[in-house]
Amino acid sequence: MAATPVSTEVVTLKLNDRDVSATRGQTILEVAREQGMEIPTLCFLEGLTPWGACRLCMIELKGSPKLLPACTTKAAEGMEIVLDSDRLKKYRKMILELLFAERNHVCAVCVSNGRCELQDLAQKNGVTHVRFPYRYAKYEVDSTHDLFRLDHNRCIMCTRCVRVCHEIEGAHVWDLKGRGIETEVVADNNLPWGQSESCTRCGKCIHACPVGALVEKTTAVNEMKKRSGFLPYLTTMRENRP
C-alpha cells in the first residue's frame, strides 16, 4: 500500500473562538484533539477509517443549519466551529441514553464494567438515568468461538470490529446484517463465530470493541481489559514502512 501523500497546505479556523491552524485534509476531530480540546467519540478509533455512525462528535459550524460529525468533516479555511454548546451537550446525552435503552447494558454484571467507553462517556456527560423506555429486546450470546465471546446485548453498532478486521487484519470476518434497529454484527455471512473459517483468532476486534460486546471468553465481571492503543502503532508501522 502506498503511503498517503502528506499535504502541506495550511488552513486557519476557529474552534470555540480559539484561532487554530490545520493541515488541509485533517478532520475537525484531529485538529481539536491536537489542540487538547475534548470531543466525545464512540465509533471513532485512531488507526481506522472514520465512520460517522455514533453521532456523539457532532459539532456546530457557523452558517450551516445542520450539525456535522467532527470525525468526518474536513477542516477548511475560515470555519467557525463550536464544540460544546448546550444544544450539543443535550444531544450527546440523549444519544447515550438511547444507546442504553436500545439493548441490554447491565453494567453491574458486565465483564467491561469499569473499563467501558460507553459507561465512561455516560458518566462524563451526566447520564444519571435513562429517560426513554428500555426495549428489553432478546439478544443471543455467541459463545461458540474457542477464545472469544460476542454478546449482542452489549453491542452499540459502532462497527469498530468490522473495520479493524477488514482494514488492519485483512480477514473481513465481520459484517452487518439487517436494517435499522434490527441490525446485528455477523461473522462470515451469519455463521456462529466458532464456525468462521476466515477468523484468524488475532483478537483485534476484542480490543477495538469499546464495550462488553466482544470479549475474551474466560473473563468474569469487571475483568475485561481492552488495549485499543495497539492500533495507532500498527497503522503507523504499516504506512511508514519502506
Binding site: 453491574a108 465483564v111 450470546v141 459463545s143 471468553k217 474466560t218 468474569a220 465481571v221
Partner: protein
C-alpha cells in the same frame, strides 16, 4: 363466622411478606400463614448468559448476603469447569465468607431483633426499632454498627467494595491478598472480639426473661439440615450435608452436596412465592426441617475454635440438646459471630494466605454443576446446567430462607395460637407473630431492608369484607 387478621407488611425483616391469621367466632386462632409476596425470577432470566457471569448476577439476589451467593455460585462454576481451586483461593473465599457471617448476623441481631430484647415485645412500636435502640442503649447500638462495619470492611478490603464485590470467580478469586491488607484486617479484630464478648453475656441474661416466647416461638420437633466438615466441626463453606432429627439422631450423614436432589424436594404452595423444600424420604409436609444457626449448632460436634467451643458447651448445658425453640436462633447466631471472628484471625495468621496462586483457569468441562455453601441464614444451593459453550440453559436456586418456609409457617401458627385473641387484637400480640419470623432472619428479597418505621395495617374482617377491628402502625 371466621375472620382473617392480616399483618402486612411484616417489619424488620429483609424483603416483603405478610402474615394472615384465621380466627373463629370465639376469637381463637384456627390457622395462620406466612406469605412471601414478591417474585424475583432469577432462575429464568439467567438463561442464555455465560456461566462466568453467574456469580455476579446471582450476587444481586441479595444486598445483605451477596457474598453467600458469590460463594455458592463460584463453587457451581468451579464444578462446571471441573477444576480444583488452589488452596489459598479457597481459603480467601472462606475468609470473605466468615466476614459475611459476622456482618449479616450483626445486622440481624443488633439492628433488626435487639429492639425487641432491649425495649420489650410490648413496647411502643413507634420506638421499637433501631432508633429506639439508639435512645435506650446507645452503647449497644454502637456495638452493632461497629461489628457490622468490621465484617463489611473485610469484604471491602478483599473485594474492592462492600456490597456485590466482583472478587470471587469461578476457579478461585481474582486477586491475592497482600501483607498490608492482611495487617489492616488483623488490626480490627480486637475491637470486634470485645464487642461479641460483651454481647454474649448480656444476651444470656436477657433471654431468661423471655420464657413464654422461648416455649412457643416455633418450638417444635423438626429435622435440621446443614453442612458439616469431615471432622464434624461447624462448616460455613465446605464439607458434606448432614440431617439430624429432633432427638439429635443422625438421619443423613456424609451426603455429597452435589446429590442434594436425592434428599431434598421442593413443594409449591398457593399462598406464597416462596417454595417449601422438604426432606424427600419423609414427604411433604412431614419432611419439615430447619436450617441456619440453630441447625448448624445442632448438627456439628464442635465449632472447631476454642472460644466458640466454650460457648457451645454452655449453650448445650443450658438448653436441651438438640435445641428446638427457634427463639434460640439469636443465641446460636451470637456464637457463630464469635466463631467467625476466631476463624478470620486463624486464617490470617497462616502465612500461606499470602500465596499468589489463587485462581484456576478453565473453560466449561461439564454441562451440569452444583455448588453448596452455608449462608448466614442456612444452607444455600446453586445448581446450573449449561450448553457446550458455557451458556446457561437452566438454574435451580434453593436459597437458605426457603428451607425454613415450612417451619416459619408452623411457627407463625404456634405463636398466633398462644398470643393472639381475635376478640381484641393488641399490637404486642402481632409483634410476637412477626418476631417468630425474625428469629429465622429471613431474607425474602434482599433488595429492600425493611425495619422499624414500616407501616403495618392489621384488620379483622368478616367474610363479607366488613372490618370488625383494626390496628395500625405508622
Amino acid at each position: 363466622m371466621s375472620q382473617t387478621i392480616t399483618i402486612d407488611p411484616v417489619t424488620r425483616i429483609e424483603g416483603h411478606a405478610k402474615i394472615s391469621i384465621q380466627v373463629d367466632d370465639a376469637g381463637a386462632v384456627t390457622d395462620a400463614k406466612f406469605h412471601v409476596t414478591q417474585f424475583r425470577g432469577f432462575e429464568k432470566f439467567v438463561e442464555g448468559r455465560p456461566m462466568t457471569e453467574m456469580p455476579a448476577i446471582t450476587a444481586r439476589i441479595c444486598g445483605i448476603c451477596p457474598v453467600s451467593h458469590l460463594m455458592a455460585s463460584s463453587k457451581t462454576v468451579d464444578d462446571l469447569m471441573a477444576v480444583e481451586i488452589p488452596p489459598t483461593g479457597a481459603e480467601l473465599r472462606r475468609l470473605m465468607n466468615y466476614a459475611q457471617f459476622v456482618q449479616s448476623h450483626a445486622l440481624s441481631f443488633f439492628h433488626l431483633s435487639s429492639p425487641d430484647f432491649v425495649l420489650g415485645l410490648d413496647s411502643n412500636p413507634a420506638k421499637r426499632n433501631v432508633w429506639g435502640l439508639i435512645g435506650a442503649n446507645p452503647a449497644m447500638a454502637k456495638d452493632g454498627v461497629l461489628l457490622r462495619k468490621f465484617g463489611q470492611n473485610i469484604i471491602e478490603i478483599l473485594g474492592g467494595k462492600r456490597v456485590h464485590p466482583a472478587w470471587t470467580v469461578g476457579g478461585g478469586v481474582n486477586e491475592p491478598l497482600t501483607a498490608e491488607k492482611r495487617d489492616e484486617i488483623l488490626r480490627t479484630i480486637p475491637q470486634a472480639m470485645d464487642i461479641i464478648q460483651r454481647t454474649l453475656p448480656w444476651f444470656k441474661k436477657v433471654f431468661e426473661g423471655f420464657n413464654d416466647e422461648i416455649a412457643s416461638f416455633a418450638n417444635f420437633p423438626t429435622l435440621f439440615l446443614s453442612l458439616v466438615h469431615e471432622d464434624e466441626t461447624l462448616s460455613f463453606y465446605d464439607g458434606f450435608l448432614r440431617i439430624t432429627d429432633a432427638e439429635g439422631n443422625i438421619v443423613v450423614d456424609k451426603h455429597d452436596p452435589k446429590r442434594y436432589g436425592e434428599i431434598i424436594a421442593e413443594a409449591v404452595e398457593d399462598h406464597s412465592f416462596l417454595k417449601s423444600p422438604y426432606y424427600k424420604p419423609m414427604g411433604y409436609p412431614e419432611g419439615i426441617y430447619r436450617v441456619g444457626p440453630l441447625a448448624r449448632l445442632n448438627n456439628c460436634k464442635t465449632t472447631g475454635t476454642p472460644l466458640a467451643d466454650k460457648e457451645l458447651l454452655e449453650y448445650r448445658s443450658r438448653l436441651s440438646h438438640p435445641v428446638q425453640s427457634s427463639f434460640h436462633y439469636h443465641y446460636a447466631r451470637l456464637i457463630e459471630i464469635l466463631h467467625g471472628i476466631e476463624k478470620i484471625n486463624e486464617i490470617l495468621l497462616n502465612p500461606t494466605i499470602l500465596n499468589t496462586r489463587v485462581r484456576a483457569r478453565a473453560r466449561v468441562n461439564r454441562n451440569e454443576g452444583v455448588g453448596v455453601s452455608e449462608a448466614p441464614r442456612g444452607t444455600l444451593i446453586h445448581h446450573y446446567k449449561v450448553d457446550d459453550f458455557g451458556r446457561m440453559t437452566w438454574a435451580n436456586l434453593i436459597v437458605s430462607t426457603g428451607h425454613n418456609s415450612l417451619a416459619m409457617n408452623k411457627g407463625v401458627l404456634q405463636v398466633a395460637k398462644k398470643f393472639v385473641n381475635g376478640k381484641k387484637i393488641q399490637e404486642g400480640m402481632l409483634n410476637r407473630v412477626e418476631a417468630v419470623i425474625r428469629c429465622y432472619d429471613p431474607c425474602l428479597s434482599c433488595s429492600t431492608h425493611a425495619y422499624g418505621q414500616m407501616p403495618m395495617d392489621v384488620e379483622i374482617a368478616d367474610r363479607s369484607g366488613r372490618v370488625l377491628d383494626r390496628v395500625t402502625r405508622d
